[in-house]
Symmetry: C2
C-alpha cells in the first residue's frame, strides 16, 4: 500500500459532525491500491484490563479520481467523543493508520496514537437553513429582466432589447417589471431569486455602491421593493440580495469625503490608504478591488465600518424580510468580519442563507462559523468543460465531480450554490456553440445533482451572448422568440426535482464514466428512493445496458413514465435517461 498517498486530518472535509449525533469520517488512499478499509473507533475513556476498547466497522468507497480512492463511514458515538484509526487491507497486507503514523497492529496501550474528534458540540455543527436544499434559484440582473415602469428609466435608456448591451448601456429594467413576471417564474418552477445588487449605484450592474441604505431609483423605491419581496413570499419564492462589502463605489459618501479632505477626513480609516493625497493612477495608492480605482476596498477591520456594514446587513432583513445574502468578493474580506456578520444576521433571522462568492477552494469559510455555502465554480467549470466545450472526457469530468464532493463535508455539499452561468460568464448556449441539446443535457445534470441549483435568467429560454457585457442581454418576453423547448425541459426537471428527494439531496455515486462513448451514469439515493441517470454526451447514439438485473425490479423512465423492460436501451445523441428503480414488491 502506498503510504505516501494515504491522507486523513481532522476536521474539515475528513472528519466532521454531519448533525448533532453523527460524525462522518473519510479517508483517502491511492487509487485501486487498497481492498478494504475498516474504521477502528471507540470512546477514549472506555478501557478494560489496561487496553483501550474499540469497535471495527468497514468503510464504503465513496468515489475515486485520477489518483485516489475515497472512503466513507458515518458513526454515532454514544458519548459524542471519538478516538479512531484505520485498518487497511490489500490482499494479505494489513496496515494500521493513526495520527502518530503507521503500525502493523492496532496499539491498545494508549489512545494518544489515534485521531481524535474530542467532542461533538452541537453549536459547532455546520448548520445551513434546511429550505436551501429544496430550493431552485433564479438569478436576476435587474437592469435586464423586465421594464415595468418607464417613468423610472434612467437617462438615455435604450428600447428594450434593441441592441447588444455595452458596459454603459441602460434598458430600464425595474422591480415593477419583475413583479409583473413572477407568474412566469412560478410556471418555470423556481422558488428562490438571487438579485445582483439593487442599491443606489451609477453603473448598470450596481456593484459600485453609492448608498447601501437606498434602492437605486431606476429600480423603484423601498415600498416597491417591499411589495416585490411580499409578492415573492406569497408565491413561495425566497429572495436573496447581493452584499458588496469588500469595496464601495467611488461615489460612496465616506470615500468622497476622503477624496475631498484627505488625511483630515473622519473617514480616512474606512479604507486602506497608503498615502495622501489619493491618486487613482497608474496604480491607485489605496487598496481597491483588483486595480479598479472606482472600487476602493473597505476597511472591514475598522469597528465603525464593521458596525455600518452589519447595520446594512440587518436592516434589509429586518425591514424587508429578505432570505439570503450573497457576498460579493467574499474571499478578500477578513474572516473575523464574516464571523460577526453570521452572528448578527442569524440572530435576527436564524434561517437566512449566507452565500459567499469564492471561486477557489473555500474550506476556510465553510466550517460552520462563516458561510452556509459558496458559489460552486469548480462544479460550473467541470460542467462547462465536459458538456459545453467538450475539452474533457467523461472520466475527467467524473473525477472533477468526485473532487467537488470530497473537498467539503456532505452537509456543505447539500446546500452548495451550483450554477452553470451567471452575469460573469458567457451564456451557456453560446459556450455550447448554440447546440441547445447540450444546454439541455447540462440542465439535466445540474438539476439532478445535489445542492441548490441556480438558473441565470434567460438561459432557460435560450438567450445567447459572450463574456460580459454580452451575457447581460435583455430578457426576451415574446413567446415566439423564446426557446420554449429548453423552457419545457427545465420546467420538467424542476418538477421532478421537487417530487424526488433523491434528486434534491440524495447521495451521489458515479456508476460509469466511459471515455469511448463519452457517457456518464450516476445514481442518487435517499432512503428507499433510487434514481439512475445516464447522460449521453456525444453526437452519436448510445446503446446502454442497465448495469443491474431488471429481475425483481421495476424501473420507470421518469421522462416518459414508461416501465423499462429491456436490459438494453438506445439513447439518442445528447440524450439522457432518468430512471426510478424500485423493488417490484414495493410497486
Amino acid at each position: 500500500m502506498l503510504k505516501e498517498a494515504i491522507y486523513h486530518r481532522p476536521k474539515d472535509a475528513f472528519a466532521y459532525a454531519y448533525d448533532e449525533r453523527t460524525l462522518h469520517i473519510r479517508l483517502r488512499t491511492k487509487k485501486d491500491d487498497v481492498d478494504i478499509v475498516y474504521l477502528l473507533f471507540g470512546d477514549p475513556y472506555v478501557w478494560k484490563d489496561g487496553a483501550w476498547q474499540f469497535d471495527k466497522q468497514s468503510m464504503q468507497k465513496s468515489g475515486c479520481d485520477a489518483l485516489f480512492d475515497y472512503w466513507f463511514i458515518a458513526v454515532q458515538p454514544p458519548h459524542r467523543r471519538l478516538r479512531y484509526g484505520f485498518e487497511l487491507h490489500a490482499g494479505e497486507d494489513v496496515l494500521i493508520y493513526t495520527e502518530k503514523g503507521f503500525y502493523k497492529q492496532a496499539p491498545t496501550d494508549d489512545t494518544a496514537y489515534y485521531f481524535c474528534f474530542p467532542f461533538l458540540n452541537r453549536i459547532d455543527v455546520f448548520h445551513a437553513p434546511s429550505w436551501v436544499r429544496d430550493t431552485v434559484w433564479y438569478q436576476i440582473f435587474p437592469e435586464r429582466f423586465a421594464n415595468g415602469n418607464p417613468h423610472l428609466n434612467p437617462p438615455n435608456t435604450l428600447p428594450w432589447g434593441s441592441v447588444e448591451p455595452t458596459t454603459t448601456s441602460f434598458f430600464g429594467g425595474d422591480f415593477e417589471g419583475i413583479i409583473e413576471r413572477l407568474d412566469y417564474l412560478v410556471e418555470l418552477g423556481i422558488n428562490g431569486i438571487y438579485f445582483t445588487p439593487i442599491f443606489k449605484a451609477p453603473s448598470n450592474h450596481k456593484y459600485d455602491t453609492i448608498d447601501y441604505f437606498e434602492i437605486d431609483p431606476q429600480f423603484g423605491d423601498k415600498q416597491t421593493f417591499k411589495r416585490l419581496v411580499e409578492a415573492c413570499h406569497a408565491k413561495g419564492i425566497r429572495v436573496m440580495l447581493d452584499a458588496v462589502f469588500n469595496h464601495s463605489g467611488y461615489y460612496f459618501a465616506p470615500f468622497q469625503d476622503v477624496l475631498k479632505n484627505g488625511a483630515k477626513s473622519r473617514y480616512k480609516d474606512w479604507f486602506h490608504i497608503r498615502e495622501f493625497p489619493l491618486q487613482t493612477g497608474p496604480i491607485p495608492n489605496y487598496d481597491t478591488f483588483a486595480f479598479v480605482p472606482e472600487m476602493p476596498k473597505l476597511n472591514t477591520e475598522n469597528p465603525e465600518v464593521k458596525q455600518y456594514l452589519l447595520d446594512v446587513a440587518t436592516y434589509w432583513i429586518r425591514e424587508f424580510d429578505i432570505d439570503g445574502w450573497r457576498l460579493d468578493v467574499a474571499n478578500e474580506v477578513d474572516h473575523q468580519f464574516w464571523r460577526e456578520f453570521r452572528q448578527a444576521v442569524k440572530a435576527i433571522k436564524p434561517d437566512i442563507y449566507i452565500l459567499g462568492e469564492i471561486w477557489h477552494d473555500a474550506m476556510p469559510w465553510l466550517r460552520g462559523d462563516q458561510f452556509d455555502a459558496v458559489m460552486n465554480y469548480p462544479f460550473t467549470n467541470g460542467a462547462l468543460n465536459y458538456f459545453a466545450k467538450e475539452n474533457v472526457k467523461a472520466s475527467e469530468f467524473a473525477h472533477t465531480i468526485v473532487n467537488v464532493l470530497h473537498n467539503y463535508p456532505n452537509n456543505v455539499n447539500e446546500v452548495a450554490f451550483n450554477l452553470l452561468g451567471s452575469h460573469d460568464t458567457p451564456r451557456i448556449l453560446t459556450q455550447c456553440g448554440e447546440q441547445k441539446e447540450k444546454v439541455k443535457l447540462m440542465f439535466t445534470f445540474q438539476l439532478s445533482f445535489s445542492g441548490s441549483p441556480c438558473i441565470y435568467y434567460g438561459d432557460e429560454i435560450g438567450l445567447t451572448g459572450g463574456q460580459d457585457p454580452l451575457c447581460r442581454k435583455c430578457m426576451v418576453w415574446e413567446k415566439e422568440k423564446q426557446d420554449r423547448d429548453i423552457f419545457a425541459h427545465v420546467q420538467t426537471l424542476i418538477s421532478l426535482r421537487k417530487q424526488y428527494r433523491a434528486l434534491r439531496f440524495g447521495e451521489f455515486h458515479m456508476l460509469e464514466a466511459n471515455d469511448t462513448t463519452n457517457h456518464i451514469a450516476y445514481v442518487k439515493t435517499y432512503d428507499d428512493e433510487t434514481i439512475v441517470c445516464v447522460l449521453n454526451n456525444a453526437d452519436t447514439s448510445l446503446t446502454w445496458t442497465v448495469p443491474f438485473s431488471l429481475k425483481d425490479k421495476t424501473v420507470i423512465n421518469l421522462w416518459t413514465n414508461e416501465c423499462m423492460s429491456e436490459q438494453t436501451i438506445n439513447i439518442e445523441p445528447y440524450g439522457f435517461l432518468m430512471l426510478l428503480v424500485q423493488p417490484t414488491s414495493a410497486v
Copy 2:
C-alpha cells in the same frame, strides 16, 4: 515524481500569514523524489497581453520525515493578494502543481487554476503575545511547592515530604510558601509561572472546582494572591492560571442545585443531562469528563453558562492582572465558546496568553481565532521516547520533530508550550531510569528548541516519581537533598537562551540524525546568529566532525567559552555541544 505524495492546501500549516506583510507557503513531496521546487506567484489582477504575469522563486527544503520532504518559502505580495502554484523538477522532469491538478506547463490563460491566498487581512493574522517566545515557564502544583503558612493547612495535613503522596493526601502548600521561594525561581532564571488550579475545590489537585470566584482557603486569600502576582511581576515573572471550564466539580453550587431539584432546578440547562433524576452509576446519565461522575460537563453553549465563565475569565485578569489562562480539557469545549473567550479576554488584556490543553493535532484551535498555543505533547512524547525511554532512534526522533514543526505555522511554533513533564506524567528523571545525564540532555534539547519551554517544579533538582499521584511529591528545599548539578545545568541553559535569540526563536534545521551513533545535530539561526547543537544520546562517547570548514569561521563552545580549533571533537556519553558559529571577520 510521485503525484500521490504531493500535498498543499491553503490555509492552515501550508499557506498562512506569518505577519501583516508576509505569507509563508509550504509544499510536501515524496522523500528524495524532487530536486528543486519553484513557487510561481503573482497578483491575481496583473495581466499583460492576455496572459497572467507571475514570478518564480525557488523554495527551500525545510525538513524531511520518513515519507516526505517539506519545502518552504516566504513572500511579501505588494498588494497583499496571491495566486500561486508550484514548479517541481526531478532531473529532466518538470511538473506544475496547482489547485486544479497537474500540468506540464504553467497555464497563463486564467488564474483560476492556481492556489489562492485572496487577501492578507491584518485581523486574521495569528498573533500571540510577543513576550511568550521570550518566556521560560515553571509549572507549580501549589499543594506541593512550599508551605509558608501552617495556619491554612487543611485537616490531616502531613508533614512536608514525610511520605509519598496519595490521591488524597495534603501537605499544606500555599501562596505564602511560593512568595517566599520566588528568589529561588529568579536564581533558576524562569520568567513565567503556570499554576495548576487555585480556585476553591475539595481535592489536592483542585480540578474539581466548587467556586470559580474564590481562592481555595488552603492556599490563602485574594489579598495573598494579589501579593503573589505583584511579587512575580516585580521580579519580571508572568503568571498563568488554570481554567477548568470543560466541567465543574461535584460541589459546584449549580450542580448541587440540579442534584437537589432535578428537572425543576434553574440550573438544569447548565449541564448536559440526559434524564432525571441524576444517576452517577454505573455510567452517569449526564455528560462528564471521561466517566467521572464528580466532574459534570458544563453546557458552554448555554448563554448563561457562557456569560458566567467569561465573567470568571475576565475577573481574574481585571482584579489580579494575571498574564495567561491555561485551558483544561480545552478540546472538548465548543469552538464557539473559545472564540468568544478570546474576544473577551483580549479585549481587556490584549497580550494575555491563551494556552489550550490538547494532546492531539490541534490545528482547528490555532487559526488565530481561538488559542495562542497548545501544550505540545507530540514534542514531549518525542523527547521522552528518544532521550528517556530510548525506544526510538535518532532518525525517528528527527522525523517527529520535523513533523511537530510542519504541523503548524511558524508563528504558532514560536509560542508552543513545550513541556517535558507535568503533573499528569511520571517524573522525567524516573522515566530516564534515574540517569541524570539523560535528564540534562533532554533539558538541553528543550531549552535550545523554539517555543515557550516549561519546567515542571522539581525536575530541575532531580525529583523522582511515577505516574500521578507519585509525580506530585513535595518540593525539596534542603539544598543538600537537591541535585544541584541538574539545577546548575538548567540555570546555564536558561541564561544562554536569554542571551541568544537564535536559541529562543531561531529557525530550526536538523543537520544530522545518526542511528548508528544515535546522535543528532541541529542548527538554530536568527538573522546573523547561528548556533549548532550536537546531542550525543548514547552511553558511548562520540567523535564528531564539524560538518563545515572552520576556515574563516570562529566557533565558540558556549558551554566552555572556548574557541574550537579542531575539525573533530570528542563528546562524552550523553554529552553535548552548543556552538556559536560566526564569520571570523565579525568577531
